[in-house]
């Protein structure tokens, strides 16, 4: 039906304007209610055990005014857009549902992927060239290692959440199992990193199966909460079982990584001396960078290959409809357990890498927030999309890091302003905003694993998930 709205580009009717003003004022009023008293008064420890209140009404006024203005602008822009839309109905409206073509910005392009891999492969060189020396590139290589660790964790969790559709909120437990198995095996038995790396994967995989068994019957929200409980139990045990895990103090002086047995030291047997190059402490870091890159790419490779095997197709079928799956004779128990075990194994390998990089681990690194961050990366990347996960990891881990460097914010908000404090706050907001505006993630293009004739990309909107 045509929409006969007598609205033109230029003029906004008086009554509409009044309504918009009233609406914006209402928003400001609600914001005021939310700010009082939690922002309006700051509690500071005073003399003795009493708390002192410091009024901050100026801040409240600024916030409310900002919300008023933002809402006003938003409504005005929407009004313009609606007026234009009413004149020219979009042809996509009718056809979108049939073809399910993803929007251009939600597709991944071949060139984009190549560029991405190219940058990842040459990052230490690029950083060294850009900052003029390997040691001054330390920050960038460190950041690269951090991001790649999350890329690997994201890809590992993607097997469980994205492919098999089982929402796991306790993934960090397997990360912890991997980290602690390397730390304990190397400090007590003196095993080398290269033996512990696969062992950590095996242990974490076993734990994945162990925790997977009881939750086989659960689905959706309940599954998520139980996995969260398991993750917390493992963390609490790590804190309280002081004899073995060192308790809250953690395990320190974990042996460093070696170049397949050759240590990165300045001595005779060191990496630099053996290869006849001048010693640089950065060699170890560059090696770690390529190690985690290789591990992450290995995870990706395994996932992509498995997707084509019967087990991978069974995962995706399970995500789409468990009951149909069972009635077609797919063994859902085995399917779920392999997804849990494989995802956990990759988490464990990433965990042992984390331990070898840090040289120190404590239960604090494995709290629920970490699980939430990894899950957020998978969800924001568009569940099931490998490229999306990588992009989301860069955005979620690299983005807040960038916040640290924004010096001009200090000039705006005063000296005491620390942008890093707002990291998690923005992170939470980003999760909500993403769900509201783009619930299918950054990349919502899917290539069907099997198809008749031509393989056509479909929009993520056609993939169901979360029945788990």
């Amino acid at each position: 039906m045509a929409n006969f709205k007598p609205a033109t580009q230029a003029a906004i009717p008086e009554s509409a304007m009044a309504g918009i003003l009233r609406d914006a004022a209402l928003y400001a009023l609600v914001a005021f209610g939310l700010c009082v008293p939690i922002i309006a008064y700051r509690t500071d420890p005073g003399p003795g055990s009493d708390l002192l209140l410091t009024p901050r009404w100026g801040l409240v006024a600024c916030l409310c005014a900002a919300i008023f203005v933002v809402r006003l602008l938003q409504r005005l822009i929407l009004l313009r857009r609606d007026a234009r839309r009413a004149l020219t109905p979009s042809p996509a409206q009718a056809t979108e549902a049939v073809h399910g073509e993803p929007a251009a910005s939600q597709k991944s392009s071949k060139i984009g992927i190549r560029l991405f891999v190219g940058i990842a492969l040459t990052l230490p060189i690029l950083a060294a060239l850009a900052t003029g020396g390997l040691s001054s590139a330390r920050y960038w290589i460190d950041l690269g290692i951090l991001i790649l660790t999350y890329v690997m964790l994201g890809w590992g969790l993607n097997i469980v959440v994205g492919l098999a559709g089982l929402l796991d909120l306790g993934y960090v437990a397997f990360y912890a199992v991997g980290a602690y198995s390397y730390a304990l095996l190397s400090t007590t038995f003196g095993l080398s990193f290269w033996i512990c790396l696969p062992l950590a994967g095996v242990f974490a995989g076993l734990w994945g199966m162990l925790l997977g068994f009881p939750v086989l019957r659960l689905r959706g929200d309940y599954l998520a909460i139980v996995t969260l409980a398991f993750g917390e139990i493992i963390r609490l045990v790590l804190i309280n079982w002081t004899d073995v895990t060192g308790g809250g103090a953690g395990i320190s002086s974990i042996p460093r990584a070696t170049f397949f047995g050759i240590p990165f030291s300045a001595g005779e047997d060191g990496f630099a001396a053996r290869f006849g190059i001048p010693y640089d402490s950065m060699h170890r870091l560059v090696f770690l960078y390529y190690l985690i890159l290789a591990l992450a790419l290995f995870t990706n490779f395994v996932t992509l290959r498995l997707r084509r095997l019967p087990i991978g197709r069974a995962w995706e079928a399970l995500r789409e409809d468990e009951i149909a799956c069972r009635s077609l004779g797919i063994d859902t128990t085995a399917t779920k357990l392999t997804a849990f075990a494989l995802g956990a194994a990759f988490g464990g390998i990433a965990g042992s890498f984390f331990a070898v990089r840090q040289g120190f681990i404590s239960p604090e690194s494995f709290n629920f927030l970490e699980s939430a961050i990894i899950l957020a990366i998978v969800v924001l990347g568009g569940m099931g999309s490998q490229v999306g996960v990588a992009i989301a990891a860069v955005a979620m881990v690299g983005g807040p890091e960038m916040l640290r460097n924004l010096g001009f914010l200090k000039a705006v908000f005063g000296e005491g302003f620390d942008p890093n404090e707002y990291r998690l706050l923005l992170f939470g907001l980003a999760m909500v905003a993403m769900m509201v505006w783009r619930p299918r993630g950054l990349i919502s293009e899917r290539l069907p694993s099997v198809s008749l004739g031509e393989r056509r990309a479909v929009s993520g909107a056609h993939v169901s998930e979360g029945h788990g």
Binding site: L34, T43, D221, I233, F427
Partner: protein
């Protein structure tokens, strides 16, 4: 026996607080089938609102009557926290209705992270101690030098919980709003066809849940006398455990579950080990969800294909 009675009192007090929070979980799950992960943090926000209001009243306005101060704090905390609940539903959950099933849960995790860090940023990361609001109590009986003590604040907590629950039960069972709420719980589409404003009912459910969490927050603050920005997560998970244990969707179940969880926690701490008390709570959560997902008073879920 003496220790037992004392722990029974402590457990029932703690359980009342969990029960009040659990109602928020159970109602929201009942009506839109989502785990409102941020509810524990809403509870934490209410603790801060109560703390600041209390300080304002006593130090700046010089209110000396404890009863008056308590009432004002309770009302202010309920109103403002209800506003938080309403705003969260409006911003983070309502646009997701009709989205895929896990979207609200993920959004709720985002809200939870936002709220705890918001409070950390605006109020600082330290523990906030409060001056004792109500001290003293009655010694019930004394034997072999061990006195069983019933503090006035424990009486107040149990009394407030009982009164509010009665009022709440009346609201849900006997008023038009309660009828609309129960109808939406059974079948949202049908309720909408019969002329119930579903969106408004859901909003009101969040508002009521948040208001009850605020009551729990005020009582928690009074009982423990200290709060910090990270205090939302663990009580939130325990209250959710209570809701599931009692049978999610059932109001008496939530209170019953809260009392059971409170009792288990205090007895576990008293007779086994205090370090592992949270492990106990999380284990109960896992065991209940796995072996009796419909809880004590809940209806078993039937899946339609």
């Amino acid at each position: 026996m003496d220790v037992f009675v004392q722990q029974l009192i402590n457990g029932l007090t703690l359980g009342s607080i969990y029960g009040l929070i659990a109602i928020g979980y159970t109602m929201v799950f009942g009506i839109i089938g989502m785990v409102n992960f941020a509810h524990g943090d809403v509870f934490m926000v209410s603790c801060f609102i109560a703390l600041i209001t209390f300080l304002l009243l006593t130090t700046w306005l010089g209110v000396s009557s404890i009863a008056l101060a308590f009432l004002v704090v309770l009302v202010v905390a309920m109103v403002l926290t209800a506003l938080w609940g309403w705003a969260i539903e409006r911003i983070a959950y309502r646009p997701l209705r009709g989205s895929f099933r896990l979207a609200p849960l993920i959004s709720a995790i985002g809200v939870s992270i936002f709220l705890s860090n918001f409070v950390q940023v605006v109020q600082g990361a330290r523990n906030k101690p409060t001056p004792p609001m109500l001290s003293g109590g009655i010694t019930l009986f004394e034997r072999d030098g061990y006195a069983v003590f019933l503090a006035y604040k424990q009486i107040l907590i149990m009394a407030v919980t009982a009164v509010l629950l009665t009022g709440f039960w009346y609201l849900v069972q006997r008023t038009p709003f309660g009828r609309a709420q129960r109808a939406c719980e059974q079948d949202r589409k049908m309720a909408a066809l019969l002329g119930i404003d579903v969106d408004r009912t859901i909003s009101l459910t969040f508002v009521l849940g948040a208001a009850l969490a605020a009551v729990a927050g005020v009582l928690y603050l009074m009982y423990y006398g200290v709060v910090s920005f990270s205090d939302g997560f663990v009580p939130g998970v325990k209250a959710f455990t209570a809701a599931v244990l009692g049978g999610i969707g059932s109001l008496p179940g939530a209170v019953l579950g809260g009392l059971i969880i409170g009792l288990i926690e205090t007895f576990w701490s008293a007779y086994f080990s205090i370090e592992y008390k949270d492990v106990a709570a999380f284990s109960i959560l896992a065991i209940v969800l796995i072996f009796m997902p419909s809880g004590i008073l809940g209806r078993p879920e039937v899946e339609k294909v």
